[in-house]
Symmetry: C2
Subunit: 379 residues, 2 copies
């Protein structure tokens, strides 16, 4: 077996045991609420990871790009939700997937986009359909129809007339700004209530609403009652990250992804270690900046994955990371402790962003590399 010490750095490490535990935890949670789990695969973009989610019980997936839909459909996944309001220039591609047998559903939050989907399906050669969900804004965070907006029924009627209305969906993205169990549980209830209200409004207007879909990792793990909801979407739970630890839905020791890096320089005059993981490896995501603990570009661990809590990645250039003592940490001979060539591991702020910088996961058990899994990127 290859050892970490034989890798060129930076390299993306994935702790299999942690990932498996995270998958089991979410699958169990969502099943206990009586819903189907539809994992969002934008986090991993890797077939072996998604296969592990399917093996644990997931029967469908959520994607953020048609490339993800394409890749996972070719690998055998049939039921796919593209969870970004579809641009008209993507409809032909979506219909090609449908013509090949993919059960691809899409979302819209406007009458204009609904008409575009209806027109595209009407002109499809083989009579393909794109079952369409109406996106609901449950928290003022981003996109979607506000629950009380009468446009909901206008969109519903346009879709239903073409036999395309499949349901409603929402994503409580503002759950990322919370950090107490009480606030998270309340947001999960708010997310649920928003889609349930819309589902009811559609049904009262005589429109069908088979699917009622919610989800974000924080709300999925904080929900206690999802009666009326049919499916839960969540993505980042598969790896977790420092942002999720700051929100409080995982511990730092649940984070399955890290970047292996080498010490390449010392600046004792500044109290710095220089490492060969910069923002190209970590991504520019600074998602913990507004949380109680700002981890800079990542939390530094030793090569075995144990956090070195007095250090943080305080700065980053393209291929250089600057590792410093945290404010208040006792003075330390960093150059002596971490000579040139020392290996460190860096836990990411945001697993989706850091993962996207690499084309390979090095799957590890302890310090042994047990597999190499490809991941793709792009559109």
């Amino acid at each position: 077996m290859e050892q970490l010490h034989n890798l060129e750095t930076p390299a993306l490490l994935l702790e299999r045991a942690r990932m498996d535990y995270n998958i089991l935890r979410m699958q169990t949670q969502v099943a206990s609420l009586g819903c189907r789990l539809r994992p969002h695969v934008k986090t991993s973009k890797s077939l072996p990871v998604v296969q592990a989610q399917i093996d644990a019980g997931a029967q469908a997936i959520t994607v953020s790009t048609l490339k993800e839909a394409e890749q996972f459909f070719e690998a055998g996944v049939q039921d796919i939700l593209y969870a970004v309001a579809i641009a008209p220039n993507k409809l032909a591609h979506a219909l090609r997937l449908g013509a090949r047998g993919c059960r691809l559903s899409v979302i819209v939050d406007s009458v204009a986009a609904a008409h575009a989907v209806v027109r595209a399906c009407a002109s499809a050669d083989a009579g393909e359909m794109l079952p369409t969900l109406i996106e609901i804004d449950s928290d003022g965070h981003r996109s979607g129809v506000r629950p009380a907006d009468p446009v909901l029924l206008d969109i519903g009627r346009v879709l239903d007339a073409a036999g395309l209305l499949a349901g409603v969906m929402t994503h409580a993205g503002s759950s990322y700004d919370l950090d107490t169990p009480q606030a998270l549980a309340a947001m999960a209830a708010q997310e649920r209530d928003a889609v349930l209200a819309c589902a009811q409004a559609l049904r009262e207007a005589g429109l069908p609403c088979e699917r009622v879909s919610v989800g974000s990792t924080p709300t999925a793990l904080s929900a206690t009652d999802l009666t009326g909801v049919t499916e839960v979407r969540a993505g980042v739970y598969v790896f977790f990250d420092l942002v999720m630890a700051g929100i409080g839905v995982c511990g730092v020791d649940d984070i399955a992804l890290s970047v292996l890096t080498s010490v390449i320089g010392h600046r004792p005059d500044k109290g710095w270690l220089i490492v060969d993981a910069g923002w190209m490896a970590m991504s520019r995501d600074r998602g913990t900046q507004k949380q109680k603990i700002d981890h800079g570009y990542g939390l530094i661990c030793d090569v075995d994955g144990a956090p070195i809590t007095e250090l943080w990645m305080s700065g980053a250039n393209q291929e250089h990371g600057i590792v410093s003592l945290r404010a208040g940490a006792p003075a330390s001979d960093l150059a002596g402790r971490y000579p040139i060539g020392s290996l460190l591991r860096v836990l990411p702020n945001h697993a989706c962003a850091t993962g996207a910088q690499f084309d390979t996961y090095r799957v590890i058990e302890g310090n042994r590399i047990v597999a190499t899994w490809p991941r793709f990127s792009g559109w």
Copy 2:
């Protein structure tokens, strides 16, 4: 010819004419100073772009990863400087490139790293050498030996004893924090003076110092006298970006790279357009945040590339960009002006970071796509 309106979004556009002009401008500037230009290819990671730089007169390149060295050596580039202090775990890879005929040089800024290079070369099967430059810290920005530090001569002696000492190099990265011609010219002089002092110290100690290398795009374009310097490195000038425009070394209309995106939603209650270029397309780079004009995640242009100065990308999620009116802009019916499916172009804060999110450049002349160029990423 394919038109922009036929592309799926998001897509990375490259205006060929602007790139050619930027290449010519830098080549002319550096030649006028009597130096060789060694373009940093980390910006493009694309052979046709580098070929255009070579066609304009560049005879050597700078890389930020050994993958870049590998790819461009295989494409015929012989003289390559890997400009990140080399980690010991990369030396075997570097020597394999050397064994295949690549004239790869490396950098170090410590005695320990110098010893590692010497040891690796001594044990190389075919007697390969890695000519080594000592990295100098000319501005307190990141890595390197401070000019007055006696360790300079210690490193020089270790390398020279093995016949590996090739010269000195520096990168005045703090030029990115400046925005007046006077300050930039002063930083260019400071960058030059730091390496010249070190070159002189080495020579006075009887050590060779053939190569004297400086560079950053802002200092390269602001230098007026580089007597004693042998080569200039610069990268981002090939495309330019909003950070460079904020520094003042280019205009917004010199920026050759943009992301084509579609309007996928409206939130009139919030004054938002939602587009399908989020941070996965733009990158998380917020390099203009500390400049006089904060462009958020990018400057919005119409499909022909004309800036719409009252708009900016004020927020971004993975595949969603939030486009808002700037503070003080008159109220405007954005939904009416930019219906679902409207195409916009977004100029990036940082071309290196945005480019890295894509695997293809769509090369355009006007609104016609005249070529598709691949780019690679990773390590």
